[in-house]
């Protein structure tokens, strides 16, 4: 195990070149070819994912992947088809890397989809077949999708005084405060070799869940007045947004403050930004921000800001989710336990936009500035 661990953690993902990733794919293929020519059942090894192999690294402050591996072999009826799909994805991603091309995960699916000779089946029947194989490969060659020159659909918006350089597009240099009210659409791949963070005068990064609040804050001139960079995730943060939050936080050394709805769903969005997700536990290292702080909404805000009239009832799903979250190791601190317990006791949730009940600008002129100034955060 130690040997494998050594191999896997030898270099941080960020510093690995496309050439090296391509070589790792070749090494895997070489080993498969050697096994085949010895008439041995060829193997493809990747990491087991999902809850059973997710570990909470308290010291590092994020979720990590355990050491459980899975071996996919060809001569196993249940694996044979996936083995074929894996080889195809390997060959195709290596081709992208060699030719410096990128593709969406939907595009690679369409590029590889065709009928298997002499059968009625397709190489991939749907994107739901190719997506997991891509994740298998990411884990097998110890990298992230972005390094395989693959990307998912972009989601999330950036606004504020931060200058970026797009190396893939005429080396365009732009400040995200000067792109109009809409800001910059965060691409799904924001790796340093594509998007360089040039500089910023901001003092902190504010991440907010809803696009509506994102727009409200811009309309009220909040980022300028409070010297902050604003990222709207539009619900659960996509990989690109998480990567960018991680990079802005680390490269510009800016505090990261998260603002979501006051309900289990919103709080989980925060926890994914901070500690990583179970699905991408292996990538937490370069996607999570363990130092992030949570500003709101909280159940305490309801009393503090007299929002009793604008709370919503928790749904059955909310209640179930809250109970699950209370059991997660990374929610085992008194602040979050108390927050979740209060929500469960009162069976209420409070949305960001409920603050409009006071005044439209209340969130920008009173709520956020006051809480951030007084550091009224949850860990």
């Amino acid at each position: 195990m130690s040997e494998k661990e050594g191999k896997r953690k030898s270099k941080t993902v960020e510093k690995v070149s496309p050439k090296e990733i391509a070589d790792r794919i070749k090494k895997t293929a070489d080993s498969i070819a050697t096994q085949i020519n010895k008439q041995e059942d060829p193997e493809f090894i990747t990491m087991q994912r999902g809850k059973s192999n997710v570990v909470w690294d308290e010291k590092k402050g994020y979720l990590g992947l355990g050491e459980k591996e899975i071996t996919r072999t060809f001569l196993n009826i249940a694996h044979a088809r996936k083995f074929m799909q894996t080889s195809m994805i390997m060959a195709k991603t290596r081709e992208y890397l060699e030719h410096n091309k990128t593709a969406s995960i939907r595009e690679i699916y369409y590029e590889l989809k065709h009928t298997v000779a002499d059968t009625k089946e397709n190489t991939f029947e749907g994107q739901d077949e190719s997506d997991p194989i891509i994740v298998d490969l990411e884990h097998s060659v110890d990298t992230i999708r972005e390094k395989l020159n693959l990307h998912a659909n972009p989601k999330g918006t950036l606004y504020g005084d931060i200058t970026l350089l797009d190396r893939m597009h005429h080396n365009d240099k732009f400040n995200a405060a000067k792109l109009g009210r809409g800001g910059w659409s965060i691409m799904s791949r924001v790796e340093p070799e594509e998007i360089e963070i040039v500089d910023s005068n901001a003092e902190y990064l504010l991440v907010c869940e809803t696009e509506a609040i994102f727009e409200r804050l811009i309309e009220e001139g909040y980022p300028k007045a409070n010297k902050c960079i604003l990222i709207g995730t539009g619900g659960q943060a996509a990989r690109g947004a998480r990567r960018l939050i991680h990079r802005v936080h680390n490269e510009l050394d800016l505090p990261t403050i998260v603002f979501t709805d006051g309900d289990p769903y919103g709080w989980y969005i925060y926890s994914v930004i901070k500690q990583g997700s179970m699905a991408l536990a292996a990538h937490s290292e370069f996607m999570s921000v363990p130092d992030a702080k949570y500003v709101g909404m909280t159940i305490d805000d309801v009393k503090e800001y007299k929002l009793e009239a604008v709370t919503e009832r928790m749904s059955e799903g909310d209640i179930k989710r809250a109970k699950e979250m209370m059991a997660y190791p990374w929610f085992q601190n008194k602040e979050w336990q108390s927050q979740l317990q209060k929500a469960l006791d009162q069976k209420i949730r409070i949305e960001q936009q409920a603050l409009a009940n006071k005044r439209l600008d209340f969130v920008a002129t009173k709520y956020l500035p006051e809480k951030i100034k007084n550091k009224i955060f949850l860990p």
Partner: protein
């Protein structure tokens, strides 16, 4: 009772009423001749359902022909034609190569209802399904007003043609248009018209009936032309007539009070003792001694004067005394070889196993025997659309039973078998035909329709044993076959992915695609071969276990003959 409620009538008045009622009944009975009775009791005679009635008619004529041929030692050739004359209106023509009927007897054969009953004969016979050929004549004239046409010729005599109806008042044939024919013909041909019946090519239609009759009578050749003009021939597969069944004396254990009283009427014995000794199977001096001790009347009295109560005492005594089991010599199975041939010819399965069990006895007094065959693959099973499901062919003394399957012990026995054990995982979806011929001198039908056999414990158990014995053999074949198919499927399943894998791996590594391909294919074959060897080892062990299992509960086992034959490898 109404009279009782009124409570005023004295004994005399009551008896007067009863006498009056009885007289009326008698009068009514006379007025309503047997034919009238027939008319009123169609249901009881099994003549319900348009399809069923037509099948029944076919059965009566064909049974008549088969019996006539067998009794005179002729290998039967029977031809059945059906013509649709109108809506629910058909004409049936059945021609055989039998001995023919004389002019004197033709009326009795086709024009007199319920004549010549064989009711009390203890003998393996096809038996009437209810109405007989005369019943068909009656049914035809009742529904169409038309007579039946009969042509018959005996060896060395001129054949004749005539038309016949039955006079419903006195149950006598009325013959018209009699003429002698100037041609040579031996056999009997009957043509009759029926309304309110319907032809269907279904499980219960005439075609299925004839097909099954052919299966159970390999010595007969049956041909059929359906109303659409399609012709079917079920060829003779065995050229020897079955031995005639013997009539045996009734065994005391299977006798009812009513039986005793009716035997009394025909006995030659002058005392009850001699009557019992002469007319019953296994009745010796010791038996008579014991009966004497148990009854309260003089056993020397004339049996013709036996009262119901006395007969009851005799039957009660029969029940309490141990008799030797009845002789089983009278039974005539079809035979394993014969069933094998006919099923191969008619069902054309891939695999077939046949078993004729040794005779046994049910209810203490009736000898019976069971013949089972399991056919798998090929055209076996019943096709329903895309699916093929298990088909159960039931026979009683070679007569196909097409109706009342749910009530029949034969069906029940099949349903109690755990077919999974014999690799028939889903009987509802397997190409299997189960053939069961139940043979006895007395078939325990559940009702007057004579289409279902009652679940006598010994019968059920015997059929189950036979099914298990044959099922085991079928299972071995089926599992072997399934494994072969699975292996083939597995190979293809691996093979189909090889080209894509080799192409991809070769693109990355530049290792020759062809070499990779060859090696992968070899790898697959080696793996499958290994699996097969392991399988074979396991199978050998399973078979050993099965064999041991068999000995543990099958007491009477026939020496295994080589009967299984793989068909022509149909898909």
């Amino acid at each position: 009772m109404a009279e009782e409620k009124k409570g005023r009538k004295n004994g005399d008045e009551e008896s007067e009423i009863i006498v009056k009622a009885a007289t009326n009944l008698e009068k009514e009975f006379k007025e309503h001749s047997v034919a009238e009775f027939f008319k009123k009791n169609k249901q009881m005679l099994g003549l319900y359902g348009k399809v069923r009635t037509l099948t029944m008619v076919v059965h009566e004529y064909v049974t008549n022909s088969l019996d006539a041929c067998e009794e005179t030692g002729i290998l039967p050739n029977i031809d059945v034609k059906l013509d649709e004359l109108g809506e629910e209106y058909y004409e049936i023509t059945v021609t055989d190569n039998g001995p023919g009927v004389s002019k004197e007897n033709v009326g009795k054969a086709f024009g007199k209802l319920l004549a010549g009953t064989k009711f009390h004969r203890m003998m393996q016979s096809r038996g009437q399904q209810g109405i007989g050929a005369s019943g068909c004549t009656m049914l035809g004239q009742m529904t169409t007003g038309k007579p039946s046409k009969i042509i018959s010729g005996k060896e060395g005599q001129k054949p004749f043609a005539l038309e016949m109806v039955i006079d419903p008042k006195n149950n006598e044939p009325k013959i018209s248009n009699y003429k002698e024919l100037e041609k040579t013909f031996r056999g009997t041909s009957v043509q009759a018209k029926f309304k309110g019946v319907l032809y269907r090519d279904s499980d219960q239609g005439p075609l299925e009936y004839l097909k099954r009759t052919a299966i159970a009578n390999p010595h007969a050749q049956l041909s059929f032309r359906d109303p659409m003009g399609q012709k079917f021939v079920f060829k003779r597969t065995h050229n020897t007539l079955p031995e005639r069944p013997e009539e045996i004396k009734p065994h005391p254990k299977g006798t009812t009070v009513d039986d005793v009283l009716s035997y009394c009427k025909t006995t030659k014995g002058r005392t009850v003792s001699t009557f019992l000794t002469n007319d019953f199977d296994r009745m010796g001096a010791k038996g008579i001694e014991e009966i004497k001790k148990k009854v309260h009347f003089d056993m020397n009295k004339d049996p013709k004067t036996l009262t119901w109560e006395e007969a009851e005492e005799i039957v009660k005594a029969f029940k309490s005394i141990d008799f030797i089991a009845p002789s089983t010599d009278a039974l005539r199975p079809i035979g394993e070889e014969q069933i094998n041939k006919s099923l191969q010819s008619i069902v054309q399965p891939e695999f077939l196993t046949v078993l004729t069990r040794k005779p046994s006895v049910y209810a203490g007094g009736y000898p019976f025997q069971v013949e089972i065959a399991i056919a798998y693959g090929g055209s076996a099973g019943r096709k329903t659309g895309e699916q093929t499901q298990m088909e159960i062919m039931r026979f009683a003394n070679r007569v196909p039973l097409l109706f009342d399957a749910g009530n029949c012990a034969l069906t029940k026995a099949v349903q109690t078998i755990e077919w999974k054990r014999y690799d028939i995982k889903d009987p509802e979806n397997s190409p299997v035909t189960v053939f069961i011929n139940f043979i006895s001198v007395h078939i325990p039908y559940t009702g007057a329709g004579k289409q279902a056999i009652a679940d006598e414990e010994e019968v059920l158990e015997e059929i189950r044993l036979a099914l298990m014995q044959t099922g085991r053999k079928a299972g071995i074949y089926i599992s072997h076959k399934r494994r072969e198919a699975e292996n083939q499927q597995k190979r293809l399943m691996f093979y189909k992915y090889i080209p894509e894998i080799c192409k991809a791996i070769s693109t990355i590594t530049k290792v020759s695609e062809d070499t990779l391909k060859k090696n992968m294919e070899k790898m697959v074959l080696t793996k499958l071969k290994l699996e097969e060897q392991q399988d074979a080892k396991q199978r050998a062990e399973t078979e050993k276990v099965l064999a041991a299992d068999e000995n543990s509960f099958i007491v009477e086992q026939k020496p295994e003959k080589k009967k299984e034959e793989t068909g022509k490898g149909k898909k």
